[in-house]
Amino acid sequence: MKSDRLRVLTHRYSTLAVLLVPLLLIVLAADLFGQLVLQRIVIILFINLMMVLALQIFMGNSGVVSFGHIAFMGIGAYASALFSMTPAAKAAALRSLYPILADVYVPFIPALLIGGAIAAVIAAVIGFPMARLSGPAAVIATFALLVITHTVLLNWSEVTNGPRVLFGVEGYTTLWITALAGLLTVILAYWFKETSLGLMLRATREDEHAAASIGVNVVIGRWIAFILSAFVTGVAGGLWAHFIIIFSPVSFYLTQTFLIVMMLIVGGIKSVSGAVVGTLLMTGIFEGLRAIENGVNMSNLLPGTLTGFTEVLLAIAMILLLIRRPAGVMAGREFRLPTRWWNRPESKPVEAETTGQ
């Protein structure tokens, strides 16, 4: 029996191997052979991956739609930048910054974690009451969260430089730091899904009332998933901020929300494999289209510009996908290595436990 259990576990966690190895190969290839442009795309890919996985942790497991996660990206970006900027840079960029914050200066990684932690704390405070909501109420509430955060970022000039760009952030984000964070997030998302809490949360997704009737605490499950995903999104926002260096609150609004939600939907929200596949697929298509758009805009081939071209094509593709295959490319399945690779012929199949999808 013991070896059966081991086999089940190996089978279950083979998903991680299937996901991590190709991602690692992408990073290696970018590091060894990639030019700077390609490396930048891979960095963006992994930052996107973190945000899509973070959304999967909450939305995929709980089934509650959130249009508000990009708020945490913005919070993480600004918070980490405030901690990682040198006092001199802050004096130049944020003239009316509060004196307490003016001299704070910590290294990059702690600043990232602080950014994530601040996002998580805000998520914890507002998430607990909001965890009771589902369906349209949750959608409107999370959307309201996005609008509130955007309004605050836009107008809190002391800390964010208002609607103007924030400059003076150092470009600390490297390929390997981002890759490491992204790979860890894959493990985190998969681990969370397989914990008992993740299982309970998935039960509430399928039928909230039935799950509650067998003693599942819907609110606690959603709350913890919300905090966890806010933390990851916050860290991703921090990485993004120290990669882009110059940014303003507009970057953390509807366009970004659409991109991240779309990546998750395309892959399929119910599985970690879906989040990874969606990110790889859509980042590739997005960067390709964007390159065409920028190329045409710069070459003056057309009388006007192609602004919006990428989003139009992506939106059409997404609507078609939602009509044809609403569950996404992976439709909730995870990649797994075939069981026979480690199943000795004499042992019984372990279907009962492995087909719990």
Partner: protein, 300 residues
């Protein structure tokens, strides 16, 4: 006397803004009540109306009223088209699918405007009464406010008559109450849903006239604010109730005008944040709406 004048001024401003908000909310609530769809593309119908005003208005010699009529018709047509192309194929999918479809449609239309027209703000020809004031004694009122007030009352009145006195209207109300049951009674689902989308487009079109009239310009993101307003009013009034949406719209109009005169200048920029914080609070404390007329069970 000054207080009376101030009060009257406040009342007219609040009633005209509230009337517009009520129209916006009703357009969203009508579709929601039948399909359980929070239509994120609703704001883009206002955008369609706005750009129609721009494009048709550029042709000189056409009276503005005809331009306005064309804009409203185009908003209705856009709404019907979206229903047919994007929403009908996903009608029977999970409600989240329909929701995300509407988000994609919204992105599509906004970026199409960016791509095909211009990312920049475009000035729109508007008739002079949008910028004129009339004074009655000491009272100074913007003419556009009076028109908005009258038009919104008229629209709400006509819609009420339609919903209460015609067979199609009754079918619509019945569907809003229990769609499955209504279909079992022999009402055609496609007809009811198309009617709801048509009215939704009509309301968005009328709103677009006044919304564009306020600034005299149109941008691709013009629909965001009406959408947000409709969300808020919908939540205040109790999600899914038509009367609630209208009352919610008026309440929000009053609240906005009041906040404008009460909040200190420095806090005014955060007004939107305040309003949305109120929304989250309402959703948490009274998810059935502040003024919910009766308890409504959750339906599928």
């Amino acid at each position: 006397m000054d207080i009376a004048i101030g009060l009257l001024q406040f009342l007219i401003n609040a009633l005209s803004l509230g009337g517009l908000y009520a129209l916006m909310a009703l357009g969203l609530a009508l579709v929601y009540s039948i399909l359980r769809l929070v239509n994120f593309a609703y704001g883009e119908l206002v955008m369609v109306g706005g750009y129609a005003l721009l494009v048709v208005g550029q042709a000189t010699g056409i009276p503005w009223l005809i331009v306005a009529g064309v804009a409203v018709l185009l908003a209705v047509a856009a709404s019907l088209l979206l229903e047919r192309i994007a929403f009908r194929p996903v009608r029977h999918a999970h409600s989240n699918t329909m929701l995300i479809t509407s988000f994609a449609v919204s992105t599509l239309l906004q970026n199409a405007a960016l791509l095909l027209i211009s990312p920049r703000t475009k000035a729109v020809r508007i008739p002079s009464f949008f910028t004129e004031n009339v004074s009655v004694g000491e009272l100074l009122i913007a003419k556009s406010n009076i028109v908005a007030l009258v038009v919104s009352f008229a629209m709400l009145g006509i819609l009420t008559l339609f919903l209460r006195r015609t067979i199609l209207g009754s079918a619509l109300r019945a569907a809003a109450d229990d769609f499955v049951m209504t279909r079992l009674m022999g009402v055609r689902a496609n007809l009811v849903i198309a009617t709801a989308f048509a009215i939704s487009g009509l309301l968005a079109g009328v709103v677009s006239l006044f919304w564009v009239g306020r600034t005299g310009s149109v941008v691709p993101a013009i629909g965001l604010m009406p959408l947000l307003v409709a969300f808020v009013a919908l939540v205040i009034g109790g999600v899914g109730s038509l009367t609630g949406a209208v009352v919610g719209g008026y309440l929000l109009g009053f609240l906005t005008v009041a906040l404008n005169s009460v909040l200190p200048q420095g806090m005014l920029e955060f007004r939107q944040a305040f309003v949305f914080a109120i929304v989250i609070l309402v959703l948490l404390i009274r998810p059935q709406g502040l003024i919910s007329l009766r308890q409504r069970a959750e339906r599928f």
